[in-house]
């Protein structure tokens, strides 16, 4: 009972806010891609796409390029294209947390780098789409438990009272109704 009360208190007082991290340090995977000319791109991403949370891919690219584009296309058809910013060396794009609705394993993400004269490089990354259990389910089950605990506890209380009375009066079960 003490454990249950403690659990309830922790559950109720715990914060349900989760912050999205957009820093390289938060990304679990790093992929380096070397172009023919020796120019290097580095991609930082999380290989788990959690449904409901925005998914980011951060990339370092050679500076000074303005006409190049980089496209990200999932095998499901969802895609985004980014144009290089000559003043930056790092940029990122995001996919909305609602991009997927079901779990997918080994989902391919095609990355294509295109210069002014055509394709300059292409490679494939693999991620998994995860469907986390709904956060409010805990509250639903917590709340539902309350009803059964309350009714159960009161029924037990009544049952104990009946037994107590029965012991005091020495009445048999069959004689109770007569009262």
């Amino acid at each position: 009972m003490r454990f249950f009360s403690l659990f309830l208190v922790i559950l109720l007082l715990s914060s349900n806010a989760t912050a999205e991290c957009r820093e390289k340090e938060c990304m679990l995977k790093e992929y380096k891609y070397q172009q023919d000319g020796g120019m290097q791109h580095t991609f930082y991403y999380n290989n788990i796409f959690n449904i409901g949370t925005n998914w980011y891919i951060i990339f370092d690219y050679p500076s000074g390029k303005s006409d190049d584009t980089i496209s990200f296309e999932f095998s499901t058809g969802l895609s985004k294209v980014h144009t290089y910013d000559p003043d930056k060396e790092t940029d990122s794009i995001s996919f909305s947390g609602s991009s997927f609705t079901e779990e997918i394993f080994n989902l391919e993400l095609y990355v294509n780098i295109t210069g002014p004269e055509g394709p300059e490089g292409a490679f494939v990354l693999e991620i998994h789409v995860n469907k986390p259990s709904a956060e409010d389910m805990m509250y639903l089950w917590g709340g539902m438990t309350v009803f059964w605990i309350a009714i159960g506890a009161y029924t037990l209380f009544l049952s104990n009272k009946f037994r107590e009375l029965s012991n005091k009066s020495g009445l048999e079960d069959g004689n109770r109704e007569k009262n």
Binding site: A134, D136, G143, F147, A150, Y154, S169
Partner: protein
Amino acid sequence: MKYSREFIGITGFLLVLGTLYFGLIQTGPAKYFTAPNAQKLFYLHVPSGLITYLAFLMVVGGSAVYLYNKSDYADRLAKCSTELGIVFGFMSLASGTFWMKAEWGGDIVSRFLTDMRLATTLAMWLLYIGYFVYRNQPETSLVKNNAAILGLSGMLMVPLSYLSSRFLRSHHPVIVGTEDQGSLDPSLRIGLYMGLFGFLLIYIFLFNTRMKIEKLERDMLKLKMENG
């Protein structure tokens, strides 16, 4: 009918199970809610709240009759109904707290202090906890009399709690008697009425049983005193 009490209890239990099936399985996660799953608490939270009001109103009625004619039946009724009001009040408050935490978020304590519906309902519940504790001592006529006066305060607390979300500062939704009542989705209505009727039958069953136990206790005490 010999088994009418048991029949009522079992029917109530089955209706509540039906409500759970309806709310949790038949209908999907609710739309337009931040916490679409926790919204399912609605089907039992609202009925338990309404039964709490019913129980405490019965305490008021029983207390008033006792003060008027010292009826033993009225005193028993008030005492037994208080216990059930506390049980159903606990269900309503606790389930509401879980739902509130999921739907509104934020700090629970400050919500209970600033939202008038929550504050007045908690105050009403605590008042009857006080009644219950006070009754938990040898039952002299003075105790019964004072308890009846305390029980009468529900005449103020019940309407205050019920109407607080309409007239005082509160985030608590108001449905009954408003324009929103007609716009309730039929699926919500079926689940709500089934839960309400189920809890009402469970209340009647538990109340009936508790009244019977209380009568037996008093009869035994009376017999004991008569026999010296």
